[in-house]
């Protein structure tokens, strides 16, 4: 544990009171920060002070605070989810900063994720992509014994790598084109890698890609930014698999 002294920082935060309002960066000093605080706990301290002054605290979303729910998502000093690799911004700790630092904090800036207030954005487009086919059509009660369908361990592990996506939208926020390919590719890959997902492989790829386009997400131009910022280390190979599934589906699908 880092026992070094408490310190002060300035954060410049995007404030925007509503979806159609003009936003701007506002500086705040935050004093007496402990290096063991998480970044969001530092914002808590600031917000507590704002509330006491009867000022509106910064709207920022977070829930689990351990990197799994996908609620939080901030751009810290221009970096999606902050400077740490493979972690969400709620896992970032203040020991990464030092006294006197000026830290900028902004929301995801993506056409398909309109800002609701301050740092909170609307990511419901991702739900609509899943709704278009990110599932296996099996009704409750109909399943055979789980061990009746063996799954090659490597495939199971790879499917799990893809399934680890937390739906935070960092990949979209980091992409210069605002593409949701990594998100969509991860779900298509997970289900394509499992025998259970095989029967609907083609329709799934077609429908999910169509939904992605319909939500006005951009296209992939191989920048690899998405992989670099993904808190769960999801690889761009998922995009390649999606493209392959999509192509095969276009060639062979009867739908």
């Amino acid at each position: 544990m880092n026992n070094s002294k408490h310190f002060n920082v300035t954060i410049r935060v995007w404030r925007q009171s509503g979806p159609d309002e003009q936003g701007r960066m506002v500086p705040y000093e935050v004093k007496d920060i402990s290096p063991d605080m998480s970044f969001l706990e530092m914002i808590d301290v600031l917000n507590e002070n704002l509330i006491k002054k009867n000022e509106q605290p910064i709207t920022v979303e977070s829930d689990c605070r351990e990197g799994i729910c996908g609620c939080c998502g901030l751009v810290v000093n221009g970096e999606v989810h902050g400077p740490d690799e493979h972690s969400t911004v709620c896992q970032l700790h203040m020991r990464r900063f030092k006294d006197g630092d000026i830290i900028t904090v902004e929301p995801w800036r993506v056409r398909s994720f309109p800002i609701i207030k301050d740092l909170a954005v609307d990511r419901s487009a991702l739900d609509r992509i899943i709704q278009a086919g990110g599932y296996i059509s099996v009704n409750t009660g109909a399943a055979p014994d789980a061990n009746s369908i063996p799954v090659n361990k490597d495939n199971a592990e790879e499917a799990m790598d893809s399934a680890a996506c937390i739906g935070c939208g960092a990949c979209v926020a980091a992409c210069p084109n605002g593409a949701a390919m990594l998100f969509t590719g991860a779900k298509i890959s997970q289900l394509a890698l499992l025998p259970q997902g095989e029967p609907e492989k083609q329709t799934r790829a077609l429908n999910m890609v169509a939904a992605m386009d319909c939500e006005k997400f951009g296209n992939c131009s191989n920048e690899y930014e998405c992989e670099a910022v993904c808190p769960k280390d999801i690889k761009v190979s998922n995009i390649a698999r999606m493209n392959r599934e999509f192509m095969l589906a276009n060639l062979f699908s009867k739908h």
């Binding site: 979303e61 689990c64 729910c69 399943a143 399934a163």
Partner: protein, 637 residues
Amino acid sequence: MKLDAQIPSGPIEKKWDSHKFNTKLVNPNNKRKFDILVVGTGLAGASAAASLGELGYNVKVFCLQDTPRRAHSIAAQGGINAAKNYPNDGDSVWRLFHDTIKGGDYRAREANVYRLAQISNQIIDHCAAIGVPFGREYGGLLSTRSFGGAQVSRTFYTRGQTGQQLLLGAYSAMMRQAAAGTVKIYPRREMADIVISNGRARGITVRNLVTGELENYSGHAVLLCTGGYANVFYLSTNAALCNVSAAWAAYKKGAGLANPCFTQIHPTCIPRSGEHQSKLTLMSESLRNDGRIWVPKTKGDKRHANEIPEGERDYFLERRYPAFGNLVPRDIASRASKAMIDEGRGVGPTGLSVYLDFRDSIKRKGEDKIREEYGNLFDMYHQITDENGYKVPMRIYPASHYTMGGLWVDYNLMTTVPGLFALGEANFSDHGANRLGASALMQGLADGFFVIPATIGGYLGGSKFEPVNATAAEFKAGESAVKNKLNKLLAIKGKKTPTEFHRQLGNVMWNDCGMGRTETTLKKALKKIPEIREEFWTNLALPGTSMEMNQTLEKAFKVADFLEFSELLVKDALERKESCGAHFREESVTPEGEARRDDANFSHAAVWEYKGEGKEPALNKEPLVFENIKIAERNYK
């Protein structure tokens, strides 16, 4: 309050089947005429919405987060139990039933628990079929691990992210129904009240968290799948949005609230580092498969952990409970750790932790193997503490984690209010006074995927419904009650933030009604809570308005309810003069210091009934009858 548990007659193995056979069915063509309101999209809510949608009901589902996929269930790590007996180690439905009853210290209802054990296997089958990427062996079959309170390996997992994968499975099944048009999803909504019409739950009032608008929805049944209230302790392993408000609203509308004092403290969490702490992070119980828990034998030993030789370490769980060792149930492990700390043998800068040490298993299996199994947990530990768990023992401390108490439900999962059901952690049903690891996920999915689809038809098919719509007088009354409460909060204009009040309450709850409880501490808490509440209603700082996104208002709304509910929790703890499971009354211990139950006086579920503002609640009792399991002292030695 009438407590009829509706337990079917007949031998325990046949109860569920015969109940399903005797329950009224709703004709397939009529199902779409029934509107079902599901509040919550965790494992319980998402699976209920999915399966009811598949049956053709018209489902509306609500949650606090921006998308249903972020419900608190997402954070569950270790695994989900099932009595598959794939490892051939002697497991069976009967054994899972037995372990769960014993784990709960004989304070759960036999028939419900047996059903849960029966359904457990179907859950694994269904989840594998909908694409949950369970851990597997090289032969391609499912792999299992061990959890506390069991001597068989029955816990299925997806690395350290089992809750995530199960929730995403249930969520995807629900999204499939959204595509099919049977389920409509309303995220960013907080249920603020339940609407009762002619004695039945017929709707809900929710606050739209983006616009602040109050919205009314009517239906034929309301399912509360709103999770547990561990955040009454302020610091807990639960997500920030977890709350008691929905259950509390139900209680005030006549639903009995059972065993609120049964709250679970998890032994293996990362200790807090300061006042700023906003949550405590769990280190999964699965770590106790390979980690050994110890403290130095001598008080105040300040040496570095790695410098303390083997002979001077006290592996106190292995010493006190040789049969189960590090895998004793959570309540026992937590109390044993607390006892060490109270003796002055705690470690770390504050002395408020014990070691969880992987040295021996790394020696035995190699660091790579340990990394493969628990890598993400070690990473998480490192991120938070800046320490390397492979090289120095982790430091852990107990934290509030799960709540066994909740809304009383009968065998059909219906509360004492007709048409109001409770599923998942929100109900009190299956875990008695202590939940075993990996059993909450099992229960949430059992309730949602398999129980409610079978039982709700009995209610819907067997009732006469008058037409109700969301503009009826009952809805207007509910809406204005909510409006009043919001306005009252906004009018205080005081100096203390909702979080400060919450933290203050949490301190009282943890110190006076936490791991050890006595008549004196509980009475102290009963004095302090109303004082905090009074200050809350006169000195709350709350900027902004109700007609906008206002997170401070949301927080205040939840804290207001915790400040009322906590008093009931403490009353329940005071009333239950025995120790059982996680409820440890220091006055009631065996000579060895273990929890001593008092079956003659407390073999019941304590069900509290709201009697009106400012009035004492009434205590009702559902006696527990054990016909299949012999009650014994819980022994893990």
